[in-house]
């Protein structure tokens, strides 16, 4: 060990201030595969507790699906464990090409290139496509990986009020002198589960000759009638210039992401996107399993249909029970509590009842917007949903918030 006590004290001080702010993130040990039912060791050292998982991005319930696990085993047997290379040296197998083609067809684009994660895809794509004479115009609630990706790009940065199309149009007018403009949005915003107005965005993109880029990580596989994503849901399938998305949520949940879209942009990413050029190939085991996932969800919409029905059921029952839930259709269901401590206390009590859901507060969400975020999965059966609704209702009664709206909850608990 080399560094001095001065550095050690500084870093420890940083950690202490994170603890003091109440934002220290603890990891809970799960001693089972990812599923609706999981065994969790929490706090560390406790005997494992069986809980229902309502906080995974396992939207289609494919994370531990037997056919996906089998395909992963086959990938391991036939194509090995690692490639010990980046893609362009000796890291591209036939199955990588197969997956890129399957994703292209599924997403309705011209071409696709895989990245180690969607974070990497977002870190790479802007710098490839735009330069200092261009403008990036982003929704103010885009994912942190997009914000970081934009910081790595020399283009001028603009942003517009969340989902406010008039404000977006103002920014498009303001940047008329730029060479290229890119409108940048999440397809689905992860904290509220609200859906971007992609039909309007495409319309504005055409009107002002802008490139449209969407991160569809919380939509690919299940949003829209055949699960293609937000563009299908909004009636603009085949019209998005750049889609970034992940294999780490609905599509099996392991890891990996991609840039999918116009062929020349994808080809340029292969030549110039630094996270692509300098990261190892996504391992064969993940590629083989993801190919199976694409096959499964291309053949039938059963899983996304079940997810849609379960989401509707849960939202209706929870709203009828008296919880304050913004209207929506997405399996991300924000249970609004406004007060950070209330959100933490209720999440803790829910865990005691065998329901694992997470409380979110500032700075993850805006001040005064604390909530418990519930995520529904096709792996949930009706009895799982009913158990969660009963537990929420019991805890909601304990804190006397049922039937109360924002103002009343804030009057009781403060911001």
């Amino acid at each position: 060990m080399v560094y001095s006590s001065k550095a050690k004290e500084f870093y420890q001080g940083e950690l202490n201030s994170i603890h003091k702010a109440g934002t220290f993130k603890e990891e809970r040990y799960i001693e089972s595969p990812q599923a609706a039912n999981i065994k969790v060791e929490y706090p560390a050292g406790s005997p494992p507790k069986e809980v229902l998982n309502f906080c995974a991005n396992n939207y289609l319930g494919l994370s531990s699906h037997p056919e996906v696990v089998k395909a992963a085993h086959e990938g391991l047997d036939h194509r090995g464990y690692g490639m010990s290379s980046v893609r362009f040296i000796c890291g591209t197998q036939d199955i990588h090409d197969e997956l890129e083609k399957r994703l292209t067809e599924f997403l309705g684009t011209e071409a696709t290139v895989l990245f180690a994660s969607c974070m990497d895809a977002n870190a790479g794509v802007f710098d490839v496509v735009l330069d200092k004479e261009d403008a990036m115009i982003a929704d103010r609630l885009v994912h942190a990986s997009i914000v970081d990706g934009m910081k790595l790009c020399k283009a001028q940065l603009y942003n517009y009020k969340h989902s406010n199309m008039e404000h977006l149009e103002e920014k498009l007018k303001e940047t008329q002198d730029c060479r290229f403009r890119m409108i940048i949005t999440d397809g689905v915003f992860s904290m509220d589960g609200d859906i971007a107005k992609l039909d309007r965005i495409v319309e504005l993109g055409k009107k002002y000759d802008a490139i449209v880029m969407v991160d569809d990580s919380h939509a690919t596989g299940f949003l829209g009638k055949t699960g293609r994503g937000t563009h299908e849901y909004c009636g603009v399938f085949g019209e998005i210039d750049i889609i970034t998305t992940t294999l780490g949520k609905a599509l099996g949940g392991a890891s990996g992401g991609c840039v999918s879209g116009r062929k020349e942009i994808v080809d340029l990413c292969r030549q110039r996107a630094r996270p692509y050029l300098f990261s190892n190939t996504v391992p064969p085991v993940i590629i083989a399993a993801a190919n199976k996932v694409l096959e499964l969800i291309s053949n039938t919409t059963d899983r996304r249909d079940k997810l849609e029905q379960s989401t509707k059921y849960f939202r209706e029952k929870m709203t009828a029970a008296g919880f304050d839930i913004p209207e929506g259709e997405h399996p991300i269901v924000p249970i609004m509590l406004y007060n950070a401590k209330l959100a933490q206390d209720m999440a803790r009590d829910l865990y005691g009842e065998g329901i694992y859901a997470i409380g979110f507060s500032f700075p993850v969400v805006p001040k005064g917007q604390a909530r418990i975020r519930v995520q529904i999965s096709a792996a949930h059966e009706k009895e799982h949903l009913d158990k969660a609704i009963a537990a929420f209702t019991k805890i909601g009664e304990k804190y006397k918030i049922l039937g109360k709206k924002k103002k009343e909850i804030i009057d009781m608990y403060g911001y």
Binding site: R140, Q156, L157, Y158, N159, K161, G368
Partner: protein, 84 residues
Amino acid sequence: MSEDLKQLLIDYVKREYLEEDSEEEIDESTPLISSGIVDSFSMVSLKTFVEKKFNIKIPDEKATTEAFDSVNNIIKLLKEFNVS
């Protein structure tokens, strides 16, 4: 302090960051970033606005969240660029 400059900045903050139906009041000392009205990502609009308006370039080391945390702070920052 120039009243015109103060009003210009208050008007911009209201238009750029508040929803039309917002009842929030903004004056020259209202905390913008530390209060959560403007987050660090959205702050870029404010910086671009003053740079374009007054034809200046604020270097990153001066464009801190503290420097943009209120209209008063922004006016103080602009003085360094001979804008008043």
